[in-house]
């Protein structure tokens, strides 16, 4: 016969399968086990439960009638576990992101031209708006009553709208070494496939007369860069030169060599 299971073990719990088997088969152990863990008889429990339930329902109705149990409570009070908290932390940034993306998309589709378009204004004389170009690649100057718009780089295509606020003899758009000349105070120019169409007409370019041809000197700087220019004045420690961009003062220490082209 197996050894009896001690009451100490029964109380402490964590009984092994063997011990449980013994308790269920041994009359003595079974009796002691049931005595220790004996429950209040079910009929008695049911009587207490029913009586108290009736009393409590009346109490509940009374409290409800007095207005103690008819209020709403903050949402956070009914959170069951951390999952909802996590969802909240994720949902807010995601909603914000979706909102931002949607807003941008709508604006972009509805107002594409305005978003990509840039504008410049030159000395209250002309307003230019353009696509596929950046401000730093456009140089505007007025020379001999001509408005000259020069692109420092030649893009594959671009569009350029202009409104001249002064009277110009003509307008020149210079792309690379091609000069397009036309007349009028308002223009709508579109450039693609090396063709410039202004106000619906394709213009034939003329070649720009390079000013560099007229320079007599070539200055090689210490860093190796070359400036074509006309040397106007040579001081003790400096020289003044005229370049395509205008007059410029250079320190002699910056200069490696001066060449005379003629």
């Amino acid at each position: 016969m197996d050894e009896h299971v001690s009451i100490e073990k029964i109380i402490y719990g964590n009984l092994s399968e063997k011990e449980l088997k013994h308790i269920s088969s041994c009359q003595k152990c079974n009796k002691i086990y049931n005595s220790i863990f004996a429950k209040v008889p079910e009929n008695l429990v049911a009587t207490i439960e029913n009586n108290v339930r009736e009393e409590l329902i009346l109490k509940f109705r009374e409290m409800k009638a007095l207005g103690h149990l008819n209020r709403s409570i903050p949402e956070k009070r009914i959170q069951k576990n951390g999952k909802q908290d996590i969802l909240k932390y994720i949902a807010v940034p995601i909603s914000f992101l979706v909102f931002a993306v949607l807003t941008f998309t709508l604006l972009y589709i509805g107002n594409f031209e305005n978003i990509t378009q840039q504008k410049i204004r030159y000395e209250n004389k002309v307003s230019l708006s353009f696509n596929n170009l950046t401000k730093d690649k456009i140089k505007v100057e007025v020379k001999d009553s001509s408005l000259i718009i020069k692109l420092t780089e030649t893009p594959k295509s671009f569009s350029l709208k202009g409104i001249a606020e002064s009277n110009f003899q003509n307008i020149k758009i210079i792309i690379g070494n091609q000069v397009y000349e036309f007349f009028g105070s308002e223009f709508n120019a579109v450039y693609s496939d090396s063709k410039l169409i202004v106000n619906g007409k394709t213009l034939t370019p003329t070649k720009e007369e390079s000013r560099t041809k007229g320079f007599k000197n070539e200055i090689i700087l210490n860093d190796g860069s070359v400036i074509k220019c006309n040397v106007e004045e040579i001081g003790e420690s400096f020289i003044i030169i005229e370049t395509e961009e205008g007059k410029r003062r250079l320190n002699k220490s910056e200069i490696s060599k001066i060449r005379y082209l003629y």
Binding site: E3, G13, K31, N34, I36, F37, V40, I48, R77, K80
Partner: protein, 191 residues
């Protein structure tokens, strides 16, 4: 397998798989005046509480009164309930406070050996004295240790007792060992 063993397994299932999920929802509904939610909550916890309260009171009427007062206090303080905490621990704490108050006023007898257990053991039973000895030991324990052993005798596991009383499993273990050591010092049940 004895009935008692089967009953313990059922309690396990109830505690770990059913009651932890919906208390917050039920409390919310009760706050909004939903009577059926209150009855559902009552049905879930009344049996557990009756067993535990009875072990303290050894009196059916006192058990009824304390059970009723527990739920009335729950209703009165329901707005203070924090759904992130354990509801079981919350309601058992209410019941324990009421038991403590009543014991202080000595409104029920202090006899720890419940009548129903006395009935399960015949006078010829050789273990009667030992069981009585067990309850004598329980009677002389501190209040906290007493709660631990009475919950254990209700069939709760160490982890469940720790959760209900809001203490660590280590404390529960220590208290149970203390009682077992006392029992052993009295000769144990089977020597």
């Amino acid at each position: 397998m004895s009935e008692a063993v089967i009953r313990l397994t059922q309690i396990d299932d109830f505690i770990y798989h059913e009651c932890m999920e919906t208390e917050a929802e039920l409390i919310y509904k009760i706050l909004c005046g939903d009577e059926s939610a209150f009855i559902e909550l009552y049905n879930k916890y009344s049996k557990m509480l009756i067993g535990f309260i009875y072990r303290h009171t050894n009196d059916i009427n006192e058990t009824s009164d304390i059970l009723q007062e527990t739920f009335v206090r729950l209703l009165e303080n329901i707005k203070e309930y924090n759904p992130k905490g354990s509801f079981k621990s919350y309601i058992f704490t209410i019941a324990l406070n009421i038991i403590r108050d009543r014991k202080r006023k000595e409104s029920f007898e202090k006899k720890m050996m419940p009548k129903i257990y006395e009935e399960t053991i015949s006078t010829e039973d050789e273990n009667e004295d030992k069981l009585k000895e067990l309850y004598n030991i329980i009677e002389n324990l501190s209040e906290d240790d007493k709660n631990i052993i009475l919950l254990r005798l209700e069939g709760y596991k160490i982890e469940e007792i720790a959760e209900i009383l809001g203490i660590s499993s280590r404390t529960v273990n220590r208290a149970l060992k203390k009682i077992i050591d006392k029992l052993k010092s009295k000769g144990g049940f089977y020597g």
